[in-house]
Amino acid sequence: MTAPLAIELVGIDKRFGSVRANKDIDLKVAKGSIHGIVGENGAGKSTLMSILYGFYHADAGEIRVDGRPVTIADSQAAIALGIGMVHQHFMLVENFTVLENVILGAEGGPLLAGGVARARATLKRLAEDYDLKVDPDAVIEDLPVGLQQRVEILKALFRGADILILDEPTGVLTPAEADHLFRILKVLRDEGKTVLLITHKLREIMAITDEVSVMRRGEMVATRQTAKTSMGELAELMVGRRVLLEVEKQPASPGRPVLQVENLTARDGRGVDVVRDVSFEVRAGEIVGIAGVSGNGQSELLEAIAGIRPVRSGAVTIDGTRLDLARNPVDAAAMRRHGLAHVPEDRHRMGLVTSFSEYENAILGYHRDPAYGRGPMLDIGAIREAARAEIEKYDIRPPDCLLRTAGFSGGNQQKIVLAREIERDPVILLVGQPTRGVDIGAIEFIHKRLVALRDAGKGVLLVSVELDEIRALADRVLVMFDGRVVGERAPETDESELGLLMAGAAQEAAE
């Protein structure tokens, strides 16, 4: 290869305590290219990129930018070298405006007034050049994640980044938003900028990158030209074994209804109806998928059925027991006793107490189960026993039930929640975003588990913003838009037809 290198990493090594997150890593990134980085959860991708961005310091190794060896002492140094980064977890001040976030650290003088005016002009120009429109005076916490990410990109461009690192940018985006992002990345590349893209989605790698590097357990295992590799090969390199990219399942044989939802209406925190008059049913032995662009009431629907969110009107029937939730609210614990299990969308906020040990999380919400203790006392031995069994069955790594849950990678945390809910043998399982931020090895496993649950005669209600996931798993697809179910389709339905429904096209046509 003859193109000059924008970045060269030589022998990068990084430890966090006893964890060796990066082992002797070499990486070459050509100038003016889009370079993908893939790897399982915890492979060390974010760590490597954060070292390049000066957020962490490597224990050993050399960094060269544009051919010159450099020391990157802090992010300021990286920014000065023209490196910008969009972090996996956004680095935004939530109660600041877009403009304030953009200028933070690049204010252009001790007083804000002059810098703000200049930044406003620059932002306007960038927004037009790259089709990155955001209201500069909007407050971050009021913006949907897609727009928050634009702010992150604008932050990097505002600082004049020539090398842009994006760490799992599409995890939170809808397909349309992701397409938009990729168009921007291509424009940037065509301008001669270099893009480093971390993602779990091999389809994206194939669609947009020029080269791709694969990491596994802290090591760089391969770099390929995208045109000369395949999703299958990349998956195998990542996991170290062959991976099924398709979900294998037999046609469903639905039985009796296990979940019936009648005219459910629920509000969000601001008192706006976000679930409006929703009715459907899930039968035993089928997976019903709810597709929709995030923020159209799917999350609230799951929470309302699970007993976490107050219901304004409507009823829910679980396995024949009718619960008039509006008149007699039922809490999550009671819902569980009726046979409902719930894997919440946001595992950190609602699924786990990350400062607890794994075994404590493994019984969260089921701690009153007589199998785990008598009266107010917990039987720690029995709980750990059960937790170890789940760890083995779900291949949770590292296999240590005493470890603090925060120490597990995202995919493994998700497995802990899934194991807890599925192993309780529910009649109906609600799952939200089961594979968000999870690597392909774990996705394959989680999908298999959900299908196995279905085949065991249970009902599954699946909410996901990944259309691919819905189409692969569901036996029936409901599309939600603006709080209502706007249509039911077979999973084989054309992607663009589903996309139109998700965008509310049916609604508008009817009006």
Binding site: F16, G17, Y53, G54, F55, Y56, D74, S75, Q76, A77, A78, I79, M85, H87, M91, L92, V93, E94, N95, F96, E100, N101, I103, L104, G105, A106, E107, G109, P110, L111, L112, A113, G115, K155, A406
Partner: protein, 322 residues
């Protein structure tokens, strides 16, 4: 009636001043994400240092300098424990309060042997009241005379400093680079770090600002309001200031109104002491003195809007978990 009101308001201003200085002090630290329940201790330490220095040198200005230096030193101890060593901010604050109570009593007795007091100050040893221009001439004009000559004029320098600190703090917080970064680091230190700004240095600077204002607050107590340091003379003002800060949701201008309100309650309590109110009888002073705390609890319970503290407050910034 009008004259009584003016009198109560006049003492409101005097009583609100140390609260205001301390609350603004706390605002800098807490907005940067370092909670500080050690305002009381810093104020007490500063009051003692100021009283002692003014007594020895005979200069109020030397007292002010000593007060500020001691408060900054205590603030840096807090910073060293919480920022550098990521210690628990509450524990460190409590420790500073105890340290200040103990040390001021011990050193006071050892140095001056007057039962923990510092020698009484007079003349240049105190900040005396300043008459604003034309205050004398306007004194007898109805209403305006009362408002201008009594209420606005005739306070010592530090009172004006305190009220001037309100717009200055607002300006610093919302119109300067330092203020932007300060507010950011209290909400999301990682965002500040990835923007290439040192979280540690920024928080230290915030804590130093806290020290300076606590120093002025302490000096006010011993060198302006009274003529010398008296043991435990802060008497919980640091905590009331903290309550005012929370009550005002960590915003400078509301902080001023909260402090004026709490100062007014204090002034009213003093005024009503031992007096019969027709129909009610004698009002227990303690009931009025407890009001700032009760109001703050009511606020925290969510009855009057919501007090959302800086999001990263109370936790040290840890980048690598090892």
């Amino acid at each position: 009636m009008f004259d009584t009101l003016i009198l109560i308001l006049d003492s409101t201003v005097r009583l609100a001043t140390p609260l205001l200085l301390a609350a603004l002090a706390g605002l800098y630290s807490e907005r940067s994400g370092v909670f500080d329940i050690g305002l009381e201790g810093k104020m007490l330490g500063a009051a003692f240092a100021a009283g002692a220095a003014a007594a020895v040198t005979g200069s109020a200005w030397a007292g002010l300098a000593a007060g500020i230096l001691v408060a900054i030193a205590l603030a840096l101890v807090h910073g060293f424990a919480c920022i550098t060593h990521r210690g628990n901010q509450i524990v460190s604050g409590v420790a500073i309060n105890f340290l200040a109570i103990g040390l001021t009593a011990l050193l006071g007795q050892d140095w001056f042997r007057q039962g923990g007091r510092t020698p009484p100050l007079s003349g240049d040893g105190r900040f005396t009241n300043i008459q604003l221009p034309f205050a004398e001439a306007l004194r007898d004009v109805p209403v305006i005379g009362g408002l201008y000559s009594e209420l606005l004029s005739g306070h010592n320098l530090l009172v004006y400093v305190a009220f001037l600190a309100v717009p200055v703090t607002w300006w610093v917080l919302f119109r300067t680079r330092f203020g932007l970064r300060l507010r950011a680091v209290g909400e999301n230190p990682a965002a500040v770090d990835t923007a290439g700004i040192s979280v540690t240095w920024l928080r230290y600077r915030a804590v130093i600002c806290t020290g300076i204002l606590c120093g002025v607050a302490g000096t006010y107590l011993s060198v302006a309001q009274s003529a010398g340091f008296i043991k435990d003379m802060t008497a919980g003002k640091g905590f009331i200031a903290l309550a005012a800060l929370i009550f005002a949701k960590w915003k400078p201008v509301p902080v001023m109104f909260a402090c004026l309100l709490f100062g007014f309650l204090d002034a009213a309590a003093i005024r009503l002491q031992g007096q019969e109110i027709p129909g009610i009888g004698e009002v227990p002073v303690q009931a009025i003195q407890a009001l700032p705390y009760i109001l703050t609890v009511v606020l925290l319970a969510g009855f009057i809007g919501r007090a959302v503290p800086p999001k990263a407050g109370g936790v040290a910034y840890v980048k690598e978990r090892t």
